[in-house]
């Protein structure tokens, strides 16, 4: 089978490789790019350990072929911390003992990053449902939910202090000034080129924002 040349960006850095079409994006990230923070727990899209951001959206990297990510902007757990400074979500997970073996943790962090960007003031129920696509076998989820609640509160109060309108709900997040602010308060989450909300009602004739390809 023919190999395919691909190039993409992960955490702001360019990566390129030659892969078989069947190689999953997760394997490409781990094996070809050497970023082993993204883990594989099931390879059939249930456990969420391989969650990364693809063009700003949380996805399962085990359910995408690497060739499909040609030209994409990816973010993995390695891109969260700013040098030695942990991202607020990482810090909250540390403070709240929201990890034990740590295998599922990168997936939870990436899911949380995208979730809090879209729903900055979640209820506990919303947090639990948003995290339901990530399985953890060690924590019983209690401390993970507490960590996410704590980051949300911190960010909400930061956003409230800085922005005049209160944070908007998830439905129209992408366009609102408050959401932009919330994203700014949440380092790393701002990379969402062509946010879905702005594209959601669009006629076929309108040329959609091209995905880099």
């Amino acid at each position: 089978m023919a190999a395919h040349e691909i190039s993409l960006r992960i955490n702001g850095k360019p990566y390129a490789g030659r892969v078989e079409a069947r190689k999953t994006l997760a394997d490409f990230i781990r094996e070809d790019c050497g970023l082993t923070g993204t883990h594989l727990g099931c390879e059939h899209g249930v456990c969420g350990a391989c969650t990364i951001l693809l063009n700003g959206e949380a996805i399962r990297s085990c359910l995408l072929f690497a060739v499909q990510a040609e030209g994409a902007e990816l973010m993995t757990v390695e891109g969260l911390a700013d040098g030695d400074r942990l991202h607020p979500i990482q810090q909250a997970f540390w403070d709240h003992h929201a990890l034990q073996c740590g295998f599922c943790t990168p997936g939870f962090l990436m899911t949380t990053l995208a979730f809090l960007r879209d729903a900055p003031r979640p209820t506990e129920r919303e947090i639990r449902e948003a995290l339901a696509g990530n399985l953890c076998r060690c924590t019983g989820y209690k401390n993970i939910v507490e960590a996410v609640t704590a980051v949300a509160e911190t960010l909400a109060s930061a956003a409230h202090a800085g922005a005049s309108p209160p944070l908007a709900g998830p439905a129209d997040v992408a366009g609102s000034a408050a959401a932009v602010h919330a994203r700014a308060a949440l380092p790393g989450a701002q990379t969402r080129p062509g946010g879905k909300g702005s594209r959601s009602e669009r006629a076929p004739s309108h040329s959609p924002k091209r995905r880099r390809s």
Binding site: E20, R22, K23, R30, E31, G34, L35, T36, G37, T38, H39, L40, G41, C42, E43, H44, V46, C47, A49, T76, V77, E78, L80, A81, L86, Q90, F93, W94, D95, H97, L99, Q100, C101, G102, F103, C104, T105, P106, L109, I127, R128, E129, L131, A132, G133, N134, L135, C136, R137, C138, T139, G140, Y141, K142, N143, I144, V145
Partner: protein, 786 residues
Amino acid sequence: MRHRNTYVPMSTRYFGARITRNEDPALLTGRGLFVDDVRLPAMAHAAVLRSPHAHARIRRIDARRAQAAPGVLAVFVHADLGPLGEPLPKLIPHPSLTYHKTQYALAPDKVRYVGEPVAFVVAESRYAAEDACDQVEVDYEPLPVAAMLEAAAAPGAPRVHDDMDSNVCAHYIQRVGNVEEAFARAPHRFRERFVIDRGASCPMETRGVVAAWDSRSRRLDVWDSTQAPIPIRNGLAEMFGLAEEDVRVIAPDVGGGFGPKVMMFYPEEVLVPLAAMRLGRPVKWIEDRREHLVATNQEREQIHDAEIAVDSDGRILGVRTVFLYDAGAYIPYGLIVPIVASTTLPGPYHIPNYHCEFRAVFTNKTMVSPYRGAGRPHGVFVMERLLDRVARELGLDRAEVRRRNFIQPDEFPYDVGLIYQDNAPLRYDSGNYPGCFDRALELIGYRDWPARQRAARDSGRWLGCGVACYVEGTGIGPYEGARVTVEPSGRVFVATGVGTQGQGHMTSFAQIAADALGVSPREVTVRTGDTGVFGWGTGTFASRAATVAGNAVALAAQAVADKSRTVAASLLEAPPDEIELAGGNAFVRGVPGRSMTLGALARTANPLRFTMPKEWEGPGLEAVRYFTPPQGTFSNGVHACVVEVDIETGQLTVERYAVVHDCGRVINPMILEGQIHGGVAQGLGGAFWEKLAYDDQAQPLSTTLMDYLLPTAAEMPPIEIEHMETPSPLNPLGVKGAGEAGVIPAAAVIAQAVDDALAPLGIQIAQTPLNPNLLWRLITEARRRS
């Protein structure tokens, strides 16, 4: 060993504190090292071809096409194994285990469960290895299958092993008092059958092995996602004829274990090193999730015929259980699980007469070995369900029945009269069972429960409350050790043989050492799970790490502290007993100005020239100590919950879950609570969601996470925890184990809560796990009856 049992902590600053974990920053930033993260030059990748049949004779295997497939380096079948073609080691023998069958690394002529390895393919990539697995031709002759436990135990059942007369490989009885007489004179006797089905521990990281062989130095390095690297090293050295010194086994970051990763040996743990040695290239094998759900050991399947005898006040006169234990196709780990089940059953209650008897039975299913709880949930389920029956039949409050039977705080040590899994007498060391129980009742609001339940029923909601007790044997021997070293940098290194799969050893052990040496736990680096760092020990299992290794760390740290004082005394010109250790310094008590850093002491204690004072006994600030507990220590606790049942659909919602728990002195309450949270989630998973389904031909039907239902955050209730601390008199730190506490009574407490919710219908749960379909069926049948 002169400090043994005379340990007095210098301060208790860190012991008992909620300290965030040392291991977290690496794990949070993607810098952990799990086995699948190990990348070596020229590494090849392996895949295992597994039997699709539960029971079949292998007529022929032809691997020629596979061998010729693109990228394939080698294909191994049984005939290629040479001396490694013998059955894998028998662990933990027992006099009652008459047929200690273990599997082969690759099946020679017969397969006995779906998932049994038949061929091992090594290729340039995992993709190519899986391609080649498709090319191996195996001609199977299907044989009759022993699928269901009870049927497999019956005479005339298809036999899993040809050289046996039946599938029963062990028959074991333990007795206390005179059960026959107790039952004969008892005014009330109640008999029940309890069925406990299969589950999987399902850590988020599956198993995995990487091996590298250096043919020049003849050294073998193995990275293994195991709970027991040292026994794996010892076993590999023996099998491959190498010195233990020349085999290094590393369990780096291990992504959860929960018991099954303590098995020695899984076939792949032999096959990967073998392939690496034969090919002269490093080889990696990572179990995929589907493999995990057939090839990693499972647990829980038992059928108990149990009976209780009580007097008219509900006081227990005798208990009898006769049960079947499904071992799966082989029984490498011996009788640990059924022994633990039968010795956990008595729990916190006076049981003057007790008869437990089991048969271990082979079936054509995946092997069974301990999974978190390891028989304890079974024992508790049987005992608590029997007491619920007593309460119902005698019209007594279920809390009152328990209270009348508790062992009292002044009765310790309490000899149950049985032999425990460590082959020592089952003797509870300490505890306060009624106190713990009362706290749990208060936490869940038991006193007001009837009123709340009535109000809910009036508004059409079916709520139930449950409360169940357990005693957990923990901290068993034989021994663990630790080496504590102060380096010239002032950093403290702790090395021990007990690895971590997420339990926080890097922090708990650091807290223990930090107190002894007067440093911050952040200054303490704990190294575990690497035989190259510490080569003596057994493994992480049976809730024993904190107790056995924790005390070894305390003893070694204490020895280093003593040495530090001795060295400091000669330099600071004060008697050793006037030297204090704090803030990373040694100083003369009351004269903080006369001090040296620990680092400077360490450098001084390792002189380059001149002579060394005799009382230093050797170089450096370093000590190795071992802790050998005389017997296990016994934690206890009470779980309580509130559930709601949708009686039209059988859906169950767990609204509240409360745990009151006593594991002696607590090293780090944050870590302890985390252990309990996780255990509760696994317990609840096993009570309502998780079931390994097999069809009547022993085909596993739930080999994905779509069908094996690990609970998610959306299903889990918030969990409330309270600690009680009754120190153990059996070890210097006064600690007991806690790793399995969360899981143990979950099935029992849910069953009771469901009974309570559905009490108007007279439903009595006698099996676990439950599911909506089952609850709906019970509800429908009950309504039809009434």
